[in-house]
Assembly symmetry: C2
Homo-oligomer: 221 residues x 2
């Protein structure tokens, strides 16, 4: 379960304070599937980075499965992230010198799983996403949509309790988008919690539970 | 006018040849507005990079306003690009150490225009794209959609004859997308040639003339 209490995020740019999240109180129960919608620049990625333990709020509290995330140290945070959370970044963040398989198997290698097993699971995940013929391509040898699908494969490879996906279908044609959403629905049916940021109305409608952000404030559906 | 003749693009990865563009014959007349659609990995960005004189084909010829682009040297190519073409990259390619204004004014500085005039034009373009309150933000201080709009402002700042936009609305909410398309329609009404790659059905339908790519081959609408 995700629970935030009175979360603000303020950036300080040379004297000027910019509040981009304003008093966010969000509760997401285990096993739910929610969409976050909002205009460009409204604070979606900023909120997602905090939920993913990649950034800290300026004020407020965040509890992930009862753990007070803001009290945890860096090692504990890395552990929470690697054990619980799969993250699809808006700009992919793939490692440029590694090929598709190597990028996807990385989260499993961190858990100490054997290289042979990691590689097999990575190949399986990439095949599910239609990239069986691009396994040894590095990010700059892949199209935008292919890179996005590698990023999605990496996010789901550890079968995480919580998947946070920031515009996972932004660079994908409708057929590839449907494949990705199918995978998220399958994970959700198995009890995984899925949070998706999207601008795609079709994707939002099929998810059901929608939360809106506008100028850093949350509005429930 | 754009005219390609029998263009192939082949990547050589370790002994294996991968043909990603196959015998492309495309003619785009001055002042037209066309959309290019196709599945992820089908060759859209590869074709666009060749049209934008950023990459060369493995075989075939390319004539831009009658100039045989493949005979031109690097200096001539840079001149053709800077004088004629505005490019919106799929992954923005903004300069990380420069702020929004500096990124947008760069193409004009290359033409030897005074810094004061460049800066004013850049501010105007950014205001048109709804970024008047983010002028001094660097790319990592902007959201995905805001970065995309900076990239669009940079592409149109020189009022180029030819605008090549690779998924210009991929990271934008519907209101921002409509703003961008409005600007492209305005440029097109003034006689500029606009080529847009998109996965967004709504964007493609409003453009009218659609070209499809599948497995590196072109199919006219
Ligand atoms: N340097 C490279 N080496 C080998 N293959 C490459 C290289 N760059 C691109 N490719 C391949 O070329 C094909 C076409 O890529 P391109 O980027 O043109 O696709 P696209 O139609 O733009 O797709 P998307 O909608 O996902 O952006 C892809 O299958 C990709 O894997
Ligand atoms: N380092 C920073 N310094 C200052 N402002 C920032 C910084 N990073 C982001 N911002 C601002 O925070 C706001 C929220 O950004 P965020 O990336 O969360 O938006 P978003 O809702 O994800 O938008 P998009 O749909 O365009 O991706 C934006 O207005 C942006 O300009
Ligand atoms: Mg974002
Ligand atoms: Mg592309």
């Amino acid at each position: 379960t995700i629970e935030t209490r009175n979360i603000d995020k303020i950036y300080q740019n040379g004297g000027e304070d910019l509040k981009v999240l304003d008093n966010i109180n969000l509760k997401v129960y285990e096993g739910s599937f929610i969409a976050i919608l909002g205009p460009s620049g409204s604070g979606k990625s900023t909120l997602m980075n905090i939920l993913g333990c990649l950034d800290v709020p300026s004020r407020g509290e965040y509890y992930l499965d009862g753990i007070n995330v803001l009290d945890a140290n860096d090692n504990e945070l890395a552990q929470i992230r690697n054990q619980n959370i799969g993250f699809v970044f808006q700009q992919f963040n793939l490692l440029p010198k590694m090929n598709a398989i190597q990028n996807v198997m990385l989260p499993l290698l961190y858990r100490g799983i054997s290289e042979a097993e990691c590689s097999q699971k990575a190949v399986d995940a990439l095949n599910r996403l239609g990239l069986g013929d691009r396994l040894r391509h590095r990010p700059q040898q892949l199209s935008g949509g292919q890179q996005q699908r590698v990023a999605i494969a990496r996010a789901i490879i550890t079968n995480p309790n919580l998947v946070l996906a920031d515009e996972p279908t932004g660079n994908l044609d409708s057929k590839s988008s449907q494949e990705v959403m199918k995978i998220f629905h399958e994970l959700n049916r198995k009890g995984h919690t899925i949070v998706v940021i999207t601008h795609d109305q079709e994707v939002a409608e099929e998810i059901g539970e929608i939360i809106y952000i506008r100028d850093g404030k949350l509005y429930e559906n």
